[in-house]
Symmetry: C4
Subunit: 445 residues, 4 copies
Amino acid sequence: MTEKGMTKQRIKLCVGGFSFTTSTEVLSRFPETKLGKISQSSPYYDRTCDVYSFDRDPNVFSCILNMYRTSELHLPSNICGNAIRRELEFWEIPETQISECCWIIMFQVDQGEEISQDLAANFEKSTNVETESPCGRFRDSLWKCLDQPNYSRIAKIWNTVFMVLVAVSAINYCLETMLEFRVPISGAEINSSVRKNLSGNNLKIELLMFTKVYPSLSAIDLVCLCIFTVEFILHFLSCARKRKFMKRFLTWVDIVTISGGWSVYLTEMGFRNGFVAKNYDMFILYVVLRSFYIFRLFRFLRLSERFTGLKVIFLAINRSKSELILLGICFTIFATVFGSIQYYCEFENNHFDTVPISIWWAVVTMTTVGYGDYVPSGVCGYLVGSTCSLLGILVIPMPIAIIAANFNDFYKRNQQRQQRLKKQMPPPKKMSTIKVNPCLSKLTH
Amino acid sequence: MTEKGMTKQRIKLCVGGFSFTTSTEVLSRFPETKLGKISQSSPYYDRTCDVYSFDRDPNVFSCILNMYRTSELHLPSNICGNAIRRELEFWEIPETQISECCWIIMFQVDQGEEISQDLAANFEKSTNVETESPCGRFRDSLWKCLDQPNYSRIAKIWNTVFMVLVAVSAINYCLETMLEFRVPISGAEINSSVRKNLSGNNLKIELLMFTKVYPSLSAIDLVCLCIFTVEFILHFLSCARKRKFMKRFLTWVDIVTISGGWSVYLTEMGFRNGFVAKNYDMFILYVVLRSFYIFRLFRFLRLSERFTGLKVIFLAINRSKSELILLGICFTIFATVFGSIQYYCEFENNHFDTVPISIWWAVVTMTTVGYGDYVPSGVCGYLVGSTCSLLGILVIPMPIAIIAANFNDFYKRNQQRQQRLKKQMPPPKKMSTIKVNPCLSKLTH
Amino acid sequence: MTEKGMTKQRIKLCVGGFSFTTSTEVLSRFPETKLGKISQSSPYYDRTCDVYSFDRDPNVFSCILNMYRTSELHLPSNICGNAIRRELEFWEIPETQISECCWIIMFQVDQGEEISQDLAANFEKSTNVETESPCGRFRDSLWKCLDQPNYSRIAKIWNTVFMVLVAVSAINYCLETMLEFRVPISGAEINSSVRKNLSGNNLKIELLMFTKVYPSLSAIDLVCLCIFTVEFILHFLSCARKRKFMKRFLTWVDIVTISGGWSVYLTEMGFRNGFVAKNYDMFILYVVLRSFYIFRLFRFLRLSERFTGLKVIFLAINRSKSELILLGICFTIFATVFGSIQYYCEFENNHFDTVPISIWWAVVTMTTVGYGDYVPSGVCGYLVGSTCSLLGILVIPMPIAIIAANFNDFYKRNQQRQQRLKKQMPPPKKMSTIKVNPCLSKLTH
Amino acid sequence: MTEKGMTKQRIKLCVGGFSFTTSTEVLSRFPETKLGKISQSSPYYDRTCDVYSFDRDPNVFSCILNMYRTSELHLPSNICGNAIRRELEFWEIPETQISECCWIIMFQVDQGEEISQDLAANFEKSTNVETESPCGRFRDSLWKCLDQPNYSRIAKIWNTVFMVLVAVSAINYCLETMLEFRVPISGAEINSSVRKNLSGNNLKIELLMFTKVYPSLSAIDLVCLCIFTVEFILHFLSCARKRKFMKRFLTWVDIVTISGGWSVYLTEMGFRNGFVAKNYDMFILYVVLRSFYIFRLFRFLRLSERFTGLKVIFLAINRSKSELILLGICFTIFATVFGSIQYYCEFENNHFDTVPISIWWAVVTMTTVGYGDYVPSGVCGYLVGSTCSLLGILVIPMPIAIIAANFNDFYKRNQQRQQRLKKQMPPPKKMSTIKVNPCLSKLTH
């Protein structure tokens, strides 16, 4: 067997009970790896049987040995990337040695890891500082009650009540703008002085000026406002980490909504007393304040504590920033180009008066919304319109599909996570702190 | 080999004919598992060869042994989760030991199982109580004839005839509302007293009041109604499990349709005799009764016995409840937020008069339906409209894609199920009742 | 080792060089299989080493042996279903023994096979009967020239010319309907007698009556018609299998187009001579004949010889019949139900006058086309409209996704097929006619 | 063992340490392969142990040996196609021997390779000729500054400034067409002589004739134009490979934009001096020149240097030419056929006056844009409309899904590529130049 000289010496390797054979020359091709440096003085060498024994996974080793033979490291797609990584570490082979065609395995496992970390970080329960005093304990349980809908039965009930109130206040907000839910203000003649400032007759402004909300709706709104204010104050007081609390998006939603609500209430009081209504600027301010009411809709985001899918959507979009930028750029370029082309193609058509309007048409066409407010009418315009809609349904979905795939990854991961947690697993006795060091493999002898 | 003392003793394991080697120290890392507790007094120990022999799958064992080596349990993605589960049970390793990155294997196999159970439960033939008397046998075959379209040749023909009748009655119902298929009522002047109650001229009410259905259509409708009534009575009488029968959705569709049909028929008779038409409230009742006609369309769902795809859609939607809730919440929040923003952005535009109308606009835009009944007209409104449509085609498909994937899983599973049944397989001699107990593996010695 | 009696006797199996061990009791669980019936008198038994040797794949055997151990047959997903089938045949295990969770492997391989056969059957070249006479050879090459665009250089050129002519005739057909490409007929006053039959003024009928096609367009059309006629006659004469030729869809497209073309030409001649125009019925016939012009568009389907993707679409749709039926049923039920509901919800709105119109609205909404010709206007109508559009984008894509996946399978398969053919492969020396019989494995001894 | 004669002689093969057994007869089935030609005189033969030893991958060999047994070559889907290719080369088995069902492995690996090459070729940095003179070095760094945004800090800043200028000039271009950003020209009465040439009053032409851009906007535009001109001149001068530079798309975008910009500027100067405005043809030329402004939007494509996703879209579309042709053909045929059918179905409806208009309707319906400018109104038209929209959402997405999948492949590949580059990998010490020759395997002895 050794007839061809010392260099081409045959070598026997026993990995996890399986025996592999190769020659020293083959192993010496990657001299910086563990196998490249191996010699009979190695602790893995077993003199009795003239074999090098390792207590490692034989399946992955089979691929690694192929690397020495063919100079390329191809990996089987059925083995978990993390398992491969461990083995590569042991055999002292850099990850970058993996050939490009098989790199996807490491890529996927890395992505999966990042998704898991994202999910873990976001579904981690916010803990409060625990104090021993009865007051402290009360504060703590109050906090949890208000903040974690799944904390206790009371928390659950409160959260449901809160959501109902949010829904009531949102519906209220919608109905308030309808004539059917409003009654005329008696002192309407006072406001008529303001009206002169208005050009033409705007229905919405007239509505706000000459009518007020039906009293019972108004009362419900006030009750909701009071409850939300109290809830927010309690939430703030019971909070132990006030700085962290103030950094939350939902805290600011609360602040804007509550302060906006009280401002509108006070302005409306002023209206009724006639002294604001005479001032047109004050009226505009009132409309702007009212528009802050929109923020109360964001309170629904609290549902994301219960319906994790909602949070997952935000996480997925958050991780897809580069795809969103791509989508934005594509969309802008396409809309501008097609809008401009259409502007000139329909030059003799009075519909596409300005480029911005043509761009609006292009947006409406590319998203296949197609309102029909601006429509091409010449042959040339038809061609541009067809191309625009076809390119819209061709290019726009491309980045969207990537974002949707990201969401899918997150969603499935989250489902798996929850199924795993459901199987009432104490986080697996990972022992992963015992970093597997090279010595471990020596133990087999 | 034992030079490093007793603890680091080398161990030979023979699993299904393949030999694995490791050390006792490695095995002792998970002391509560079968291998962790192993000793020379174990029945698996074969003193002659100093080897522990197991008659199990060597491929899965290879991964399990890696767990002892690296403290993480990674699984190959090509082995069926059920096979892995069996092996984990044998080696006394809890499922939760599987690392997070490989958990997907168990997740998928569990999901597949649930889908299979769902399908099996829903495509199971409803069996009737079998009685020996000739009357009982007749009742039984009548039931099967009416209930299972694939039971016999007659059942098939009857089902086809029934479907044709359903289609005829549905088409009839559509045509009845068209002026072309109606003739004026002679005593129309009587009704004119009722007409005073109407504000403006509503075409539909006038149609119902001053015209009646073309006699031949009317006759067809009556015939269909009679046949359906008889069919339902026979179906009910032949049924042995009346309680279960009454719980079906389709039973109630039948009841509502048939009772609605007869009420309308009687009311119309009254009309013709003039005594109902004088009463406006009675007329409204008549319209409401007519609207129950819609239920007759649900009779088409009986087709799901033949076209299993239809049932699969319902099963898939039924299993996707959480995704549907997510879709609903997303949709509501987005529509409300964008509707509200648009309400204020187009404040000076009389199109978006109230918030509910703006929400309707947002819904129409997000789903890319784009009727064009409400269209933004300012630059600000254009921007909000573009964002709204873009976010619509970005976010709405996310939960829908998950539901579609669920449907796909169900559909493919169903196809596989039917292909398998087609290969005329007597349900595989599963023997799975013989729970594989640990003793089995002792047999190898 | 045999201490537990004869029944639990250990057995050694050598499959393709790998040794497996198990007990006779385990093997006897499936007594009708090859291993279940094995005994020392079997030809596979090698007395010298007390081992049963088989020259088969050890990987698949590993799974098969697991079946004896756990009573369930799970298969690794990385092995090709066809390879598994071969091994199952050899080991005399029925395919139906495969557990439900792993059945997908066989399902996929069967589907792939069917797709391959479909593709092979449709892309097979149509061969003509070969005759030895010079006339026969000329006829044969003429046929190939006309029928197979890739046959020779001339065939390619002719096909391109033909496609250009088809395009010219199609564009001609579009332009003929435009006033810009028509000139008034001098004898227009003659036709005026016909006009009395028309109620109101229909632009299209007036166009056909009082104007004729611009002479040069008319001439181009006639030239095309002549060329197509000659081509068809040559195609028919050169064809050796006339019966098969007459069964083709494209042949009938040609026949309808050409006969329609000549009829229209003759009728128009009659028009100009004034004797047809006096007859209104004759005019209607003329319009109907003209409508057959649409068939000339189907000539474009000849492109499918060159752009195989077009044929693949038809193949995919052809194989997706059950999904198409499902789509049709879903679509019809949903449209009818939502149309009917909307009819009653918008009862006081004059827009939705009849149920068919409401169904049209539902179709337009579900497909998200949203013309805006019929739009709900009440709160109730808004809710139904939102639900309808949302359910449309939820349910309609489900069967469509399955059809699209079928197309994808076909398309990828076709790409693979063409890549393989490109590697200039003489159909692999399959030798697959040598059915692998059980004797083969005996050879190893 | 050799009792059955010489032909059925058992053979032992040791591949990478694993032993396989088979018979010579089995191996002789493919006599042109390495194993088919093997004999005891082969260098792989080891007389001592009566075994043929090869230092190759045992996993792939296992499949190859199965080929000899069953005459079909099936491959495991988990092994990388490139690794398989290497082994097939060694064993002298032609790739075409792979069975059709497993061909997908080679197909995918080939496609992946092509995508990688495409990406590598397109993201390669353009290098300039390096000269040693200080002038040359300055020129080189100037080139890199202007051409490679990631070259240095200054390059990055310049690129950002440039993009801002492009955006400013694009916004400017949009605003210029709005009446709000224009002032009336004093000498408007001069132009009135031109106006006579116009039929009717076209808003856009009037805008261009009687108003000019607001001076400050005009100034900004001029500044941008100057900067772009200077930048282009510097870019051109600093370029060492001028021929390659002139072949770029973006170079021509620059040329057209800049020359167009200056022409418009000069024409407008002429306008103000009154001597151009008298000529109507000159005015048309002016409009055409202005339309070249659209090209300035294409400058945004320079962003693709930074947002690689943009380039990836173009690469994906570039590779999907055949799918695009398929999409185009499908779309054209469907639109023409449905448009024509609708033309005749709605013959009595004045909406669908000509076939081209009907085709436009079909396009708008199939893409689900649904403007509502042309809407069917008869029952027949409704049916055709429903079918058209349903077929649109059925067939159009099919080729689009293939293109989207291509994009996805490119995008993921690009992500992997960038992750790999990020791990700061010097291109892996591939050593792949050492072509693995058959001698290597001899080394094991």
